[in-house]
Assembly symmetry: C2
């Protein structure tokens, strides 16, 4: 298919390359900063950086809006596409409605992954969540998604929001706990990499089983002595102390069920 | 070396096999339930299950106490070892003192890993933390540790406590967040495995870089609209809601520094 990408950030970068690898043709790339569009185009076979959002003469059949959530509305207001073209955003949180008010054929094409330009992603492991109110659009987006990954799901905006909330707990929050752990160790000059093997094994265990069943540590075994000793160590770090208490209580409560 | 293992749980299981694989000889295994000792001995080359803790006639030079933390004191009180034998526990939290009061040569030999009988562990990736007040004991334990892993550290009891606290944040707490995420998804009949690739990539990214620098999500980008929408979704789950708030605040605070 012929595709145009609005955005030149991490998602745009990986998605456009995955689409090209699957045999599709990226027509144009737009970015607020045209230099970023040029940079991405230089990686692609025959894409052109576009100076503006007027694509009424474009040959693209699908337009992906892959920009930060809070920029989607303003992009949607200014974007002009040929008759019959599909416009889909790639956001986990933004409802489909935000596009439906502006374009004829709309959808969501949300790849559930954390992207960085410097890290290679095997797109065939990435779930893509599709949403569209229009059956033929849904079919086209689904078919397109299946050319880059076997993991294609259909979620409405409400379900996608819950998925995103789950990802905040499982990814954003876990990452922050790793950051807090690193701070705790570094105060005692213990290098964080001592923890790597343990963290990897913990996560693998949780993913291959039910994390609830895999819970270990002082909270689940009601080891009050250890908990108290940990809390004393955190006396001068009230924020970490409060988190320690709250998560420990939550572990205990889930264990009781 | 000739080694005896007190305990037949997960740590005892993996440690004894790693020691045997490195060419050491496990002499005896003791467990409160002798059936567990028999089961472990059946996996080992020439170890015998011991019915009691009287090892005064044993040929073992090192005795590992690999039992739950709250059982160490009672084991230490009843354990009898030959003159000159080293007694070391494998706990992350228990101070060395608890052994020093009872035995002549004591140490700590703490493998920083989460062990399950059903999961294979490559011991050469596992850090082992050594502690001893006695130089010759320290040397022997260090040499022994180096036969099973290149990652050998020396930490005193206070530092080992901090290491354990860091592990609670990085492992026990992250595991619980995965369990909460699974609950959130399953309420909407979304299978948790949709999240696997995202979680793995998040963790790999955090471990290969600085997790603080890798933080993403609504909190770090101050996306109040998304945060409010997530909190509304959690209105009837006050526990998850409170955790969401507290961790988000903590992310925001760390990001500001």
């Amino acid at each position: 298919m012929k595709i145009t990408i609005v955005g030149a950030g991490n998602v745009a970068w990986h998605l456009s390359q995955a689409l090209e690898d699957a045999g599709h043709s990226i027509q144009e790339v737009y970015s607020r900063n045209i230099k970023n569009a040029q940079k991405l185009c230089s990686k692609l076979y025959d894409a052109f950086p576009s100076p503006d959002l007027d694509f009424s003469e474009s040959k693209a059949e699908v337009f992906f809006i892959a920009v930060p959530d809070d920029a989607i509305d303003s992009i949607a207001t200014n974007l002009q596409v040929p008759d019959g073209a599909i416009v889909a955003h790639t956001s986990g949180t933004k409802p489909l409605e935000s596009l439906e008010l502006v374009f004829e054929r709309t959808g969501v094409f949300y790849p559930l992954q954390t992207f960085s330009k410097s890290r290679q992603i095997h797109f065939d492991h990435v779930p893509v969540c599709i949403e569209s109110e229009d059956e033929s659009t849904d079919k086209i987006l689904t078919k397109l998604a299946k050319t880059i990954t076997p993991h294609v799901y259909h979620f409405d905006s409400e379900k996608r929001k819950v998925l995103h909330l789950g990802a905040v707990f499982a990814c954003n929050f876990t990452n922050h706990l790793l950051a807090l752990s690193k701070e705790i160790l570094e105060e005692e000059n213990i290098p964080f990499n001592i923890m790597h093997s343990l963290i990897s094994e913990t996560i693998n265990k949780a993913l291959e089983n039910d994390p609830k069943e895999m819970q270990t540590g002082p909270a689940i075994r009601r080891d009050v002595k250890t908990i108290q000793s940990h809390l004393r160590h955190l006396d001068e770090q009230p924020e970490k102390k409060q988190l320690y208490k709250l998560i420990s209580e939550s572990i205990l409560k889930m264990g009781k069920e």
